[in-house]
Point group: C2
Chain length 225, copies 2
């Protein structure tokens, strides 16, 4: 009967409100300091430090020293995937947070998921890439076709640089708001960064919202609509 991995350790870790708040804050993809995460979770810095130590010990977070700051970030995309799938189930079951902010509609439209674009616009882009045969799915992992590679090169994405990274180029990630998939992986990250570079969009402070400008959204639609 006692077969397989033990999920209770990980789930209990995620199950504490202070820790889950920190994890959700880190789903913005940014690395945050212990102090920022403490404010985010609404606890003192001592408590936060204890939590962060446990999360790091379990392999859910990475810690990076920088001067007298300690920056924490989500360990990898597997962790991000588990958090998004849990978020999806919670949304479906109606377990919403008590204070739903006014930014909820913007979040559903376009937000950062760890390090790539999620929300309606993320799903739209992913669908468009597939229907235009720029990406094909093979055993659940998206693959860039030759036509996709030329498109990315024209758009200013350095595919050779991406290939040198250890990360997989393409991954799919389930969207909790749209309940559809969007593009993750190194390419997903590169595309989102390119949107920022081109001035199509910018990140709202202290939020996961990705705010597209009028012209930015028009160009996005022209390319992926």
């Amino acid at each position: 009967m006692k077969e397989g991995p033990d999920i209770s350790l990980l789930a209990a870790l995620i199950g504490d409100p202070a820790r889950s708040n920190m994890l959700m804050a880190l789903m913005s993809g940014k690395a945050l300091t212990a102090g920022e995460l403490a404010r985010e979770a609404g606890v003192t810095i001592q408590t936060a430090s204890s939590h962060l130590g446990k999360l790091e010990g379990a392999g859910l977070l990475l810690k990076r020293h920088e001067g007298r700051h300690r920056y924490f970030s989500i360990a990898d995309e597997d962790v991000a995937g588990v958090l998004e799938s849990l978020t999806g189930l919670a949304a479906k079951r109606g377990h919403l947070r008590t204070r739903t902010g006014p930014k909820d509609p913007e979040l559903r439209k376009a937000r950062v998921c760890y390090n790539h674009l999620a929300g309606e616009m993320g799903v739209q882009m992913y669908d468009n890439l597939i229907t235009n045969n720029h990406i094909v799915l093979k055993d659940n992992t998206p693959l860039l076709t030759p036509s996709g590679k030329t498109l990315m090169a024209e758009f200013g994405v350095d595919l050779e640089a991406l290939a040198k990274l250890r990360r997989p180029l393409c991954k799919s990630c389930l969207d909790w708001s749209a309940r559809r998939s969007h593009l993750a992986g190194a390419l997903g990250t590169a595309l989102l960064n390119r949107f920022f570079e081109l001035g199509w969009a910018e990140r709202l402070e202290n939020s996961r919202v990705v705010a597209f400008s009028k012209t930015g959204e028009r160009k996005f639609s022209a390319m992926f609509g």
Copy 2:
């Protein structure tokens, strides 16, 4: 900051060892009584009843009355998906249960995942269906092609009956042991049941192991190898 669903409730629910043991036992796909689940989790029946009430209240389990027994089962495939993804992460992080039984190799080879075939043979079957173009992936959801439909009909799967169900015909599910996808959904369930009907395999008591006979495995390989 307080945006999106609250995952801490669900995660805390899964995070208790007794409850996670029950959930893992129910991942066999069978409906189990409160007493069986209590034995499985190693707690008294009163404690189990309390846990099961909470799990049902949160929408993770379904309760069915039958005489003086109450049968519990996983609520739906979304819940099963979250549990499998958590299991995958736990396995990768090495959070194994204390007492790993001798059946571990058999589990990795072929096991039941909620109600369909998982493990190496499950992945093998899924890969074969895709490479032979019996299933194509469209936006992460597998679709049965015409050639796939004739194959299933020849194999004795009543596709019309499956279409009448509310469940999606095909879904993909991430495998914690192989870290690849296998086939879930109504078709995945139907195929596994057909293997049992044909005598190719049978379930080991009190376990998720699917034991193929020699001839059963040979025929399976001839079809999906």
